[in-house]
Structure formats: C-alpha cells, structure tokens
C-alpha cells in the first residue's frame, strides 16, 4: 500500500498497487488503485477505501434521516432530505392508518408543508428516488426541539467511537440528541437554552472535527455555557414571577 492509513489523500493520489480491491471512493486503473475524493486513506481487509471529509448526502437503505415536507401528493408527501433526490413518504408508510382509505384532507392533516419528520429510508437505487417510512420506533412528526444541520461526513464524529461523543453531549446538555445520517440532527431538551447549547456544541464539532482533544473541549464549552445559563435562568424566572 502506497498511502499510509489515515493519510490525507486528494483525487488522483495513488493508494496502492497489486493485490488489493478498490473500495468506496477509490477506483482501479491498471494495477494501481487511486483515491477519488478528498479524505483519509484506510484499509479494511485487503480493500482500500477513502473515508470522505466532505460531500453531499447519498441515501442508503436503513438510514435514519430528518426531512422537511415540501409537497403534498395524492397518496403521500414529498420530503427534502438534503440529498440530490427528493424523497417520498407514502401515507401507507405512516402508523396512523388502520385499513382506512386516506383522503387528501387527511394527508394534509397528518403533515403539512414545512413540517419535519424523523424517518427511515426503506428503498433507494439508481433508477428511483428514495422511499421513506415512519413506522419504526421513535419515528414520526417532529414537533419540538431544535435542528442543527452539519455535513453528513461529520456525523460519525458526532457519534464518536462507541458512542462516546454523543453520550457525553446528551448527558451534559440534558437533551435527547438524534442524529440523522443526512446531516440533520434533532436536539430536544427541557428548555430552549439547553437546546441552543447542544446545537452550538454540534456546530463546534463540525468545525473542529479533526483537531485533537475535541471531546474534552466540547465538554468544557457545554459545562461553561450551562453554568452561565443557570445564572440567567434564575434571574429570568424571578422577573416573570
């Protein structure tokens, strides 16, 4: 292998030669395997890959995504999941129905244009647009909380090794954080201030994703902000009373 593991590579850089397979974001030309995107070179078994640093979200089956309803159709909704393809959420894939015929009025009642949904991708291939469902646990209309939007390539960093980063975020900000694979993240807390801190922490992770000591710095930032919030919160409460 020519490139080192975790080495930053750019399109056209040689990753390796000979007995390797060309994995994600690489291609083979003759005996050599080349990087196709900016990212970190890596090897899984004898498959050379590039882990991308940036890039648009391309849906995959089973992905959890957060989407915006952009249109109401005859039998469902068109959903923007920040991908190059608009997604479809059929009414038949929402848990509300019990063998009833869905009229258009019902459809508009369940989701209107501008609503947010937490959904799962159940179908997608090169010939058709992604299909969504909200029939899983925890899926459905999003009615409260704040949404952060970061680059989808940074979502693994938000989760962290064995969930270390996201567990810390949830604990320190006291909010429930649900990351969508499409880069949208929902933060639902007990008050708007905690949600704001969670969202700021997420943007901080995106900005500094590859710098050292990030988990500690984000924790320090949150603890600091939560401390400030307590003072303000107290004085606000007294003035409302």
């Amino acid at each position: 292998m020519h490139a080192e593991r975790k080495q930053l590579v750019t399109p056209g850089d040689v990753l390796g030669e000979g007995p390797y397979f060309a994995g994600e974001n690489t291609y083979r030309d003759g005996t050599k395997i080349y990087a196709a995107r900016i990212g970190l070179a890596d090897i899984i078994g004898n498959k050379l890959i590039v882990v991308p640093i940036k890039g648009v979200y391309i849906p995959r089956i089973d992905d959890i995504v957060i989407g915006r309803i952009t249109d109401i159709g005859m039998s469902g909704w068109q959903v923007d999941i920040c991908a190059p393809y608009p997604a479809m959420l059929p009414a038949s894939e929402t848990p509300m129905q019990r063998g009833r015929d869905i009229g258009r009025r019902d459809i508009a009642y369940i989701y209107g244009v501008g609503d947010l949904t937490l959904a799962q991708v159940i179908a997608f291939d090169r010939t058709r647009d992604p299909l969504l469902t909200t029939k899983g646990r925890g899926l459905g209309k999003v009615t409260s909380g704040r949404v952060a939007r970061i680059s989808p390539a940074k979502i693994p960093r938000v989760i962290g090794k064995q969930g270390s980063m996201i567990t810390m975020l949830k604990k320190e900000t006291n909010t429930d954080i649900v990351p969508g694979q499409n880069g949208l993240i929902l933060a639902t807390g007990k008050n708007p201030e905690q949600e704001r801190i969670a969202v700021e922490a997420l943007y901080m992770i995106e900005r500094e994703a590859h710098s050292s000591g990030l988990t500690d710095r984000v924790r320090a930032f949150i603890v600091d902000e939560m401390g400030k919030g307590k003072e303000i919160g107290q004085s606000q409460n007294s003035s409302i009373a």
Binding site: P84, A153, R157, G160, H210
Partner: protein, 262 residues
C-alpha cells in the same frame, strides 16, 4: 491603476515585450510562471469553493451539487449533468465590460466544462446536476486556465468524486520567442496564445486551444512547456487542499466505525 496608466499614457506606443537580456515586461524569464496564490473553501454557502490568484488574475470558483436537476427534463438516467458557467465581472477588465454574457464567455463556458467533465465521476450521481460557477474578478490573460485550476479545487472541496484534479496554464509566442504563461499585454501584442489544461495523473490534455501563428516546432515547444507548468500547478493545488484539510491522525480514530458513505 498602474496598468491603466500604462495604457492611457502610452496609448499609441507598442511596448517591447522582450528586452536585450531576454527578460519580459514584468521581469520574468521565458519559462517562468507568474506567482500563484490558492485558497480552498473561501465561500460559506457553496458546497465547494476555491480562490486563485494567478499573476494579476483573481478568480473565484464555486460548486453546488450534486443536487436536484432543474429543470427536471435535463436530467440524465445514468449520470449527473454538469453545468459550467464562466463569467467576468464588469470591473475585471481595463474597459468596463457589460455584465451580460458575451459570445466569448459562452464559448469558454463550454471548453472549460469539457476540460473538467472527463475528470468528474458523474456516474455516481444519476439524475442530478453539478453546477460549476467561475467568476473572474480581475482578468490579466490566462483566465480560462486559472478558472479550470480553481474549479477543479472547488469540485474536490465539495467532496465530488473525481478521477484526478485538472490544472491549466497557457503558453505563447512573443517577439518570435516561445514563452510560458502570457500576461495581458503579451497576449494582446504577442504572436500566439495556447491555453492548455492537463489531467496530471493520467497525463491527458483536456483543454487545448490556439490562436495566432506557430510553426510545428514552436507548437511542440509551447505544448511541452505548458504541460510541465500544469504539473507544477497541480502540486500547488494538492498543497492547498492539504492545508485546508490538515488532520490530526489520532483524532481520526475517534470516529464511530469506518462505515463509509459514498
């Protein structure tokens, strides 16, 4: 302002392009590149962007995409549609230029797209579009080449899969001598202009135009010279990308799983 003065005061005087020592108007030797400055990711809203200063050229390139095809009927079933726009700001030239696209800008939009498209792995994104926008903020000859250099970086910055980067540089002939990287005055008063863009890894030329007069030998000389310059510019592109995405190795291990998204 300096160049305006050169133009206005020496209105009818043709400047000598090569002096007795073989040095050019700006002091360069025949095979010297103008200074280059490259910045990646300068814009906030664009998916990818790059800013290139090549000599007095100042070029900003941005990429949006892949995104939904607009209008829907232009979408292709098996790959992304590439749209490319080369445009000059009204204040980019000596005489103010009307903002409406000229025939030259339309022609350059086409040849630039044809220089970049072979490097883009557009089959990854059927039924979508990738928009490449090149704005020339200040022009001093060689804008299409510098535009390609910037656009290739913007594409890489947007995370769009590419076989390799593309770099551009022109050569030409002034006062009977083949020289590299013409400046504006050399382009206007010289005898030939040869813009070239190269895909350095494969060594393939993806843009080639010529106007003026060159013998076959002169052409070969000019082509070799610009190809060599493109390779040098490619190294600068890679360095600019590295600087933008400087990564600490151990922190990268903190990411969840190596499950990779295309």
């Amino acid at each position: 302002m300096k160049w305006e003065r050169e133009r206005k005061l020496d209105n009818h005087k043709t400047v000598r392009l090569l002096d007795d020592n073989g040095l050019r108007v700006d002091g360069r030797r025949f095979d010297e590149l103008r200074p280059l400055k490259i910045e990646v990711g300068t814009l906030d809203k664009a998916d990818g962007s790059a800013y290139v200063e090549h000599g007095r050229n100042k070029i900003l390139a941005a990429v949006y995409g892949p995104r939904e095809a607009h209008p829907k009927h232009i979408a292709l079933a098996d790959r992304a549609v590439i749209k490319c726009r080369y445009h000059m700001a009204p204040f980019s030239t000596d005489e103010r230029k009307s903002p409406a696209p000229s025939r030259r800008e339309l022609e350059l939009s086409k040849v630039i797209r044809e220089a970049l498209e072979p490097a883009i792995m557009s089959e990854y994104f059927p039924r979508s579009t990738i928009d490449i926008i090149i704005e020339v903020l200040q022009a001093d000859a060689g804008t299409r080449c510098a535009g390609i250099t910037a656009a290739a970086l913007a594409l890489a910055d947007a995370g769009i899969p590419m076989r390799e980067l593309v770099a551009g540089c022109a050569a030409g002939k002034i006062d009977g001598k083949v020289v590299l990287d013409l400046s504006d005055i050399e382009d206007k008063q010289g005898e030939a202009d040869l813009p070239v863009a190269l895909m350095p890894k494969s060594g393939m030329v993806s843009l080639l135009q010529m106007d003026g007069s060159l013998t076959e030998d002169e052409f070969k000389q000019a082509l070799d010279m610009s190809i060599d310059a493109c390779r040098r510019i490619y190294e600068m592109q890679r360095e600019a990308l590295r600087q933008k995405y400087h990564i600490v190795k151990d922190e990268a291990d903190n990411e969840a799983a190596t499950e990779v998204r295309v």
